[in-house]
Symmetry: C2
């Protein structure tokens, strides 16, 4: 196939507003050239042998440590990321501002009062106001039960949602688990509660509570809201089962104005179409309890290392590899949204995007939003990933969190699905630390991202995976 001809044909197709799906076939299919495939085994093996990602994660989690969005440490993380991209030989390094409300945690305590007096281990939910409240605990087995509580029925009381999140490789349990965190406080307020506690959205059984952002619905007066560690939720449930249990919840935390942080970006320039980019990345911020090793130091390390290893090849791929360390993912995808907004006029230049933000477990599956005409390329990538133990799972999943906003604008996405069986043992807890990372699994991730990004950047048609502004629907829509 002739690259220039294909590119011309594709450009014409994309500038058309006519539905063009059926027209694309045969020579119009997106393929990846033989030369690119020849690079893959060496790149994959180099990644598997490399401890670069492991050292990057070690550096970030050790030198910066916890890096709550908007904190002094977050600013150090931004400087760290710029320096690290330079150190790793990226061709171009820059940062783009991301502004958001700033939330701070200062102290947090809870204790059972009365005849069974004892402290409980809790952590404020991100976004919670501070305050000290005392009240009888009313336990609900799940969010629906709380939502069914009549208005005023919890006046002066503390609502306790005792829902136990389920463990799953793909993290399916996190949907219902995290809804208890995002919707529970507002439901408690509607029923009149003075405070809100929940069993952590987590799958471990350690005294490490899981924080995470919550939202209060418009018009409601926020109440102190916290998560109990799993053993503490067990304990509170046992106490409530024995009789009336009063709890004191004392949080010192809250919103303190506006902060500006940065998406930090490193690019390996493409050899033929450098303005066209494959975006990979992770998020640079973390919750403050741990050092953000699996969430998401790992994603930053994996994608920085994948980019760096591609940069060390004898020749770069045709298009650029852009690695983004996103700002403030944790509190509402601020970095992903800012990136999408800043680059909304460049959707067509973004070949495809993938974020690593599900820990440091091995990747077991590959899927993408590639339309039918890109199947040859998509399959070729899947085949190149297969030796890493990765299965092609077309049609499954969706874009990573910070890719979501650009995907909504029309950028194609890929998913390199990590084994998250143990992810929610650590996620958003003090226990999210460097020692939890398996260097071999991390290297497998790097190999997968490097192979994926290299091949995607080597496809032989412009916009080969369907990226197109949403007002010009992708060919398959």
């Amino acid at each position: 196939m002739h690259k220039t001809l294909l590119a011309l044909a594709t450009a014409l197709l994309l500038s058309s507003t006519v539905a063009t799906g059926p027209v694309l076939a045969g020579e119009s299919e997106t393929r990846i050239g033989v030369e690119a495939h020849e690079v893959v085994p060496g790149l994959r093996d180099a990644a598997l042998r490399s401890d670069l990602a492991y050292r990057v994660v070690e550096s970030l989690t050790t030198e910066v440590g916890p890096r709550l969005a908007g904190s002094e440490a977050d600013a150090r993380a931004v400087a760290w990321a710029e320096a690290k991209f330079h150190e790793l030989g990226f061709d171009k390094v820059w940062k783009e501002p991301v502004t958001f409300p700033k939330w701070e945690r200062r102290s947090e305590h809870a204790r059972v009062l009365g005849a069974n007096a004892q402290p409980l281990t809790i952590t404020a939910l991100g976004g919670s106001p501070g305050g000290t409240v005392e009240g009888e605990v009313v336990r609900f087995a799940d969010l629906a039960a709380l939502e069914a509580a009549p208005a005023g029925s919890l006046a002066g009381k503390i609502a306790f949602v005792d829902y136990r999140m389920e463990r799953a490789r793909d993290g399916a349990g996190y949907g219902p688990g995290s809804r208890v965190r995002s919707r529970g406080p507002s439901a408690a307020i509607r029923a009149g509660a003075a405070g809100y506690v929940m069993r952590s959205a987590g799958t471990d059984s350690h005294r490490n509570p899981h924080t995470g952002i919550t939202r209060f619905d418009e018009g409601l007066q926020p109440i102190p809201s916290a998560a109990l560690s799993v053993p503490d939720a067990d304990q509170l449930a046992r106490l409530v089962a024995r009789g009336t249990t009063r709890l004191q919840l004392a949080l010192d935390c809250g919103w303190t104005g506006t902060a500006t942080s940065y998406n930090v970006i490193g690019q390996i320039n493409g050899s033929e179409r450098p303005e066209e980019v494959v975006v990979i990345g992770g998020h640079l911020d973390s919750w403050d309890l741990g050092t953000g090793a699996v969430d998401d130091g790992a994603g930053v390390g994996i994608t920085m290392a994948a980019g760096a290893l591609i940069g060390q090849l004898p020749a770069p791929p045709a298009r650029s590899i852009r690695v983004v360390a996103f700002a403030n993912e944790e509190q509402g995808l601020y970095g992903g949204k800012a990136y999408a907004e800043a680059h909304k006029d460049e959707v067509g230049l973004h070949v495809i995007g993938a974020e690593s933000d599900f820990g440091a477990g091995r990747i077991y599956g590959y899927s993408s939003s590639a339309p039918a005409y890109a199947e040859p390329a998509d399959k070729a990538i899947a085949e190149a990933l297969a030796p890493l133990g990765i299965v092609h799972m077309p049609g499954e999943g969706g874009p990573g969190p910070d890719i979501g906003p650009m995907a909504a604008n029309g950028v194609a996405w890929a998913r390199l699905a990590q084994d998250g069986t143990d992810y929610f043992d650590l996620h958003h807890t003090p226990d999210d630390t460097f020692d939890k990372i398996d260097p071999e699994a991390l290297a497998q991730n790097v190999a997968a991202y490097a192979v994926f990004a290299y091949l995607a950047a080597s496809n032989e048609v412009q916009h080969g995976f369907g990226s197109a502004p949403r007002d010009t629907p992708p060919a398959e829509d």
Copy 2:
């Protein structure tokens, strides 16, 4: 064999000061009667089927929670134990006062200062003074390295002993591990240090530091002394390896006068010689970080349940079963010492003693201090324990901590060795909570203690296992 004759002969032997070892043979050997053996299978099976110990541990850890010696919760634990012994049908329940210095933990923080600023998770060592110190961290690989530091060499600095405790079924790693805690602070003071931190004496890798008592040698001015969680010790070691690292250690804790708590005792009276007792027990106090489930709610639950199940037999054994919930083991065996002192004139009435204070893992071995003439009884006990997967390990181990002081006075001891492979993942941490207990393993412990105590109380000679005041050495000495 004729019981009265044997008893007379034994009494004569014990009143003699002549070495009598070789004289004891044949009819003078301690044996256990056939009738007692016939009781064993039913008792063992009832214990294996029973969830009594599990419910007792649940009750203590839930209703009382953490129970630091001398605290308000410790007093509640004493009341709980008295009530529980009554509820379980013990014939006689009483308490004996135990007085000790009282130590309190109020707050504790540590943070790395400067370019890598971040909080570290620590806990004050029991006995540490309060105070806030800042200084450069000097790392030592082990206690010997710190002890070799010249006087004055750590002036204004914070000593960090980074020794990693080893995992072992029998807890062998705890000797060197706990010496870092007991001796490290004094060694640091001798070298001039302003503060002391250590890698927790633990085998886990969670953000849960291990506390435990320390001592300051006479004449030294105590310094703030704390343990880092294992991941935080990893982190501090990495930071120190990168360059000069300054730490702020802020502890609010210390000694606050004297407290009186109680050994709480429940007894199942023997049918023939009720004044002669087999002592089993655990300790009632716990450290304050967790709820003291494996240390030592389990020991209290196991031995209370074993006693209660013996009490539910159609007929009690010849001698009494005395279950002791010892006060303040954690800060220096105060309960065990008080018991030994209070009963020092009754050594000959204490047939044998065994404490359960090594978690809630299965028992794998049995041994005792039984002299040669008691081997038939000792072997009979071991044979009765064998169906529980317990191996006879004569000559191994020693008395449990609170049995130690009475053993020093001449009371015979037994050891029912628990599998402690995972014990130091939890020991003295916030993570020592009820959910960590396996009910089946706990029931196996109860079965072992019940069988052991019942048979030991059924032996056919007085003082059959060699108990005798130390000024009248036991026959085998």
